[in-house]
C-alpha cells in the first residue's frame, strides 16, 4: 500500500518530492517509507504480544479471583499487596481494609512469633507448604488455616515477595475432632467383660487390636478380676480379623498380667486360619491354654473352678 502511494506521488511530481521543506530523492523517500513500513509491522507485532500478555494476565487473575483458596501476595516485610475474593470471604476483610497492612493483622497475638521464621525461609527462596496455623477473622472468630507460602521472584531470580495460599481447614479440623471423639466412645464400649458364671469372666475381643485397645483390654480385664476375684478369664478372639505378631504379643502380655493376679486365662476362637498364621509367624503361644470354640473353653473353665455340667 505504501509503495503504491510513493509511486503515485513520484509520478505526479516528476521524480521529485518536497516534504516539510526538505528535498529528498525518490530513493531516499522509498527507503524512509520502507523503514516506516517495517516499524509499523514491528509495532503491530508488539501489540499482538501485549494483547496476548494482557489476555494471559486476565486469565491468571480470573483463576486467582475464582479460586476457593485465599490467595494473598505480600512483600518481603510482610505487607499485604493483593487479596482475592476468597480471601475476603475467608478472612472477612475487603482488600481496601487490609491494603498496606502487615500480614499480622490476620493473626491472633499469641501467634505473631510464627511470622518471622516463615519470612526468613521465604527470603532464602524456600517454599513453606501446608503450614497449619490459626488466623483471626475480622469478626474475631479464630479459624484453622493450612498455608502454602511461596517466594515470588523477579526476572533476575531475586526474591521480591511472597504468595500465601490459605485454605480454611476449620471444618476438616472439626471433623477430625469428631472422629477422635467417636473413636474414644467406641474404645470405651468396645471392651465388654462379661461375668458369665461365678468367678468366670468372658472377654470377647472384636475389631482391630491396636496398642491402645490392647492396653485398654488389659486394664479393663484386671479391674474386673480385682472386683469379681474371678479364677478364670476366657479371651475369645474370633472377632479379631487380623492376627499378627503384634496382636499375639499383646495377647500374651494380657495373659501374663492376669496370671500375675492369680487368674488363669483361656484363649478361645482360634480358627484354622488364625492357628496357621500363628505357626507361620513363629509366634510362641506355649504356656497359654487355647481352644477352638467358646464352649470348650467354658468346659475347661468349669473344670478349673471345680464345676461340672450335668445333663438333666
Amino acid at each position: 500500500m505504501f509503495r503504491n502511494i510513493v509511486n503515485h506521488n513520484a509520478m505526479k511530481k516528476g521524480g521529485r518530492c518536497r516534504m516539510k521543506g526538505v528535498e529528498k530523492t525518490k530513493e531516499q523517500l522509498i527507503e524512509e517509507l520502507n523503514d516506516c513500513h517495517r516499524r509499523v509491522i514491528e509495532l503491530e507485532g508488539a501489540e499482538t504480544k501485549y494483547r496476548q500478555a494482557e489476555e494471559q494476565l486476565r486469565r491468571l487473575s480470573a483463576i486467582v479471583e475464582s479460586s476457593d483458596d485465599a490467595i494473598i501476595s505480600e512483600s518481603l516485610d510482610g505487607t499485604i499487596l493483593s487479596w482475592n475474593e476468597a480471601a475476603k470471604r475467608i478472612y472477612g476483610y475487603t482488600f481496601e481494609e487490609v491494603k498496606g497492612h502487615p500480614i499480622s493483622i490476620l493473626m491472633p497475638p499469641d501467634r505473631f512469633n510464627e511470622i518471622q521464621p516463615i519470612l526468613a525461609r521465604i527470603k532464602s527462596g524456600e517454599r513453606v507448604a501446608n503450614y497449619e496455623t490459626v488466623f483471626m477473622r475480622k469478626d474475631g472468630q479464630q479459624i484453622h488455616i493450612s498455608l502454602t507460602i511461596s517466594p515470588i521472584k523477579d526476572a533476575e531470580g531475586r526474591v521480591m515477595g511472597a504468595s500465601a495460599i490459605g485454605r480454611d481447614i476449620t471444618e476438616r479440623r472439626k471433623m477430625e475432632e469428631m472422629l477422635r471423639e467417636q473413636q474414644r466412645v467406641f474404645m470405651e464400649v468396645s471392651v465388654p467383660v462379661v461375668n458369665i458364671w461365678k468367678r468366670i469372666l468372658l472377654v470377647p475381643l472384636i475389631g482391630i487390636f491396636d496398642s491402645k485397645r490392647a492396653q485398654l483390654v488389659m486394664e479393663t480385664l484386671l479391674t474386673a478380676i480385682e472386683e469379681t476375684q474371678a479364677k478364670v478369664a476366657i479371651l475369645d478372639i474370633s472377632g479379631i480379623p487380623v492376627m499378627d505378631t503384634f496382636v499375639a504379643k499383646h495377647l500374651l502380655q494380657t495373659v501374663s498380667a492376669a496370671r500375675l493376679m492369680g487368674t488363669e486365662c483361656i484363649i478361645t476362637g482360634i480358627s484354622s486360619i488364625i492357628s496357621r498364621t500363628i505357626v507361620k509367624l513363629g509366634v510362641d503361644l506355649a504356656g497359654v491354654v487355647t481352644k477352638t470354640t467358646l464352649a470348650e473353653g467354658l468346659r475347661l473353665a468349669f473344670d478349673l473352678t471345680n464345676l461340672q455340667v450335668v445333663v438333666k
Binding site: M218, L222, E226, Q229, S256, A257, L260, M261, G262
Partner: protein
C-alpha cells in the same frame, strides 16, 4: 527382725506385707522368711502383697528369688493379691512369671498350696 509379721497356720507360713518395702528392708525380709521356714519346718509359703501399691523390678526379682530359695528347702511359694497397677507396671517392665505361683487371695493361695504339695493337678495346665 523386719517389721513384717509372719503367721504360722498348720505347716504353712503366711507373710502379709503391710508396709511399703524399700530395698534394704526387702532383703532383710527375705532373710527372715528363709530363717522362719527353717525354724518352723514350713511346707508352704504364702506372701500377700495386696497392701502394696508399688512393686518395682527389684522387689519382683527378690520375690521370685525367695520362691526359688524356699523350693530348694522343700517349700512351695504362692504370691497372692498382686494389685492391678502393680501387675501393669511389672508387665511393662518385662517381668516374667515362669518361676512363681500366684493366686487371687490368701484363701486361694492356701488351696493352691495344698494341690501343689499333694502333687495333684497344678493351676497351670
Amino acid at each position: 527382725m523386719s517389721e513384717v509379721a509372719m503367721l504360722k497356720m498348720g505347716n504353712n507360713l503366711i507373710v502379709p506385707i503391710q508396709v511399703e518395702l524399700h530395698d534394704r528392708a526387702a532383703v532383710r525380709l527375705q532373710e527372715d522368711i528363709l530363717k522362719e521356714i527353717e525354724n518352723a519346718a514350713a511346707k508352704g509359703l504364702v506372701i500377700d502383697v495386696s497392701a502394696m501399691s508399688i512393686v518395682d523390678s527389684f522387689l519382683g526379682r527378690l520375690l521370685v528369688e525367695t520362691a526359688k530359695m524356699s523350693r530348694l528347702m522343700g517349700t512351695e511359694t504362692v504370691l497372692v493379691g498382686l494389685r492391678k497397677e502393680v501387675v501393669i507396671t511389672l508387665i511393662q517392665l518385662g517381668f516374667v512369671i515362669k518361676d512363681i505361683h500366684t493366686a487371687l487371695n490368701i484363701e486361694e493361695g492356701l488351696e493352691l498350696l495344698e494341690r501343689l504339695k499333694s502333687g495333684g493337678p497344678k493351676e497351670r495346665l
